[in-house]
Symmetry: C2
DNA sequence: TTGTAAGCGTTATCAC
DNA sequence: GTGATAACGCTTACAA
């Protein structure tokens, strides 16, 4: 058998002249141990460089103090900000996060959940509402407390986010209010959230009697500025009468904006352009980009807080939070 | 004692009519178990929904199959690409990565190492070469195999990266070759890598007899486009004779570029601007940005491969790799 | 190829 | 407030 890290709780106990369980208590529930022993133990810990083993602790207590976070991408700032918010809440609480990036592939998401279950996470933070049936089955089979991020559901699941559909509709209404009549939609990736923004856009245009399915350009490939530029070309080639473009995210919109400048297309005079997410660069483009600011960091924080609540207290309500969104109206529209 | 996840290896063993150890072998070293039992066991695993426990496995085998990755920031694309490369190598090998983000704070880096040692990672991937003395002490005390990313050292540590100093010097020489004579430097964050790029810049300018300490503007705050714009203002206000600016990263450079356009400063005619990292947006700015492309994804992949090698084979050489860099000469210079 | 026994480092339980 | 003992779920060492 290979050597472990070396120093164990028993070593500390021996050095401090107490029993192992007292060391355990001194570290986890200091209130239950006398001042004198606590100090002796602290000294022994320092002297020996003792580091407790999470494996042993998890095994004995059936709590891993670990939360699984499943996100569709690590290269999208949106999820990074969310992760950052989660981290800010989980770390001080003594929880560690396991990050699973499934590259927008729900099969891989399922595999990741399966793989990470080996760590017996105490809870899961999930992105979006739609998943493989087996994914949901696994969650309930293991009775895993879960919080869903980024969107809202009305089926009792605990959600922290905002209505993607409402946000899409709000932006479409803004463009209508600006007097635009041929409002196109550029979509990439086509994940759940993009499709909901699209649904909101359709709803708003239908209400105004301005919907035209031939003004929608959808591409399942990952979005990028390059793709935004290319889609702009294609859109204007097919429909030169288009007078506004709602892009499903800022990357696409920034690429489209760039191509407009290259081709001498006046924004917003001839064509209005809008994005989604309010990335840093959106305020810095030429012209500055109209977009939707999303409370992604707050979503992470709030979701993590909610999960902690569920872990502390089994009986807690699975309360959802709608954190809203904000239209950022800039010069591109 | 609270219930665990439920199904254990013994349950599987009972259902398959074998002993627990045979189940263990069927899962980890299938070659050592007969076809017949393997199939029986596989069936039992499926039927019961058995998921092995990493805690138990780690405890019994003294190997966690886990690697710690310490990075200074999650909001910098550079490190995300690196993470992504690491993930691509570690995951197929059955290793899970623990991600520690220390926000460019070496004290927090030390704390994170301490905290993550509780998981008994089999190895560590570290960003940069300079760390707290206690950090190095902890590493060697726990005899943790480590690979250092992003830079190169000649002290026997296993490094995967490129020479930050050479890259800084190369860009400065490019600007000199373009006929620039008052070449300034904009630096933010001032982490180890920025300071080495600065050192390279100084070296090159000294060699050319063109170094002028009053052309260096350094700010320890995190970099952003906003800061780049502000620093440009300050620099030109103090030194209107400056004819080139080497920015320590692309964010700064893009902000500077933006402000130049606002103020009507001709780039590159009156002022050349260069960045570092070659982010996506660098090719899309107006004018496109001259910068240094860095092999960050490859650094992650190669570092992870090297670590795996060290974990498989204790006697393996700690071979460093210089993955180089590439000047991307675009219109801004 | 398969099984038995012991132990990994911690915590729950119950006693003092 | 402190301690003895028995798990937790798995793997190593050794035996058959």
């Amino acid at each position: 058998m290979r050597a472990g890290s070396g120093v164990t709780m028993h070593d500390v106990a021996r050095a401090a002249g107490v029993s192992a369980i007292t060391v355990s208590r001194a570290l986890k529930q200091p209130g239950q141990v006398s001042q004198e022993l606590r100090e002796k133990i602290a000294r022994a810990v320092d002297m020996l460089g003792y580091v407790p083993s999470r494996s042993a602790s998890a095994l004995a207590s059936a709590r891993s103090r670990t939360a699984l976070v499943l996100i569709p991408s690590l290269s999208n700032t949106v999820f990074l900000d969310t992760l950052s918010g989660i981290e800010d809440v989980l770390q001080p609480a003594g929880y560690q996060m396991l990050i699973g990036n499934y590259h927008y592939d729900s099969q891989q998401e399922l595999q990741l959940l399966r793989a990470y279950l080996q760590h017996r996470p105490d809870g899961v933070l999930i992105t979006g509402l739609a998943h493989e049936p087996q994914f949901d089955a696994l969650l309930s089979r293991h009775a895993l407390p879960a919080v869903y991020m980024m969107d809202l559901a009305d089926d009792g699941r605990c959600c922290v986010g905002f209505s993607q559909e409402d946000a899409g509709a709000a932006m479409a209404r803004h463009l209508l209010a600006q007097g635009r009549r041929k409002i196109g939609f550029l979509g990439a990736q086509l994940d759940e959230r993009v499709m909901k923004r699209l649904a909101g856009y359709r709803l708003a245009l239908h209400e105004a009697g301005r919907h035209d399915a031939a003004l929608e350009w959808l591409n399942p490939a990952p979005s990028s500025m390059q793709m935004g530029a290319d889609m702009l070309d294609a859109a204007l080639a097919q429909r030169p009468d288009c007078d506004a473009l709602f892009c499903c995210n800022d990357d696409l919109a920034l690429g489209a904006l760039f191509r407009c400048r290259e081709k001498g297309i006046a924004v917003p005079e001839r064509l209005a352009v809008a994005g989604f997410n309010d990335l840093q660069a959106a305020a810095w483009s030429t012209p500055p980009l109209t977009t939707v600011a999303t409370p992604r960091r707050q979503i992470g924080e709030q979701a993590a807080r909610q999960l902690l609540r569920m872990l502390e207290d089994d009986a807690v309500e699975a309360a959802s939070s709608d954190l809203g969104f904000q239209l950022m109206l800039r010069r591109s529209s």
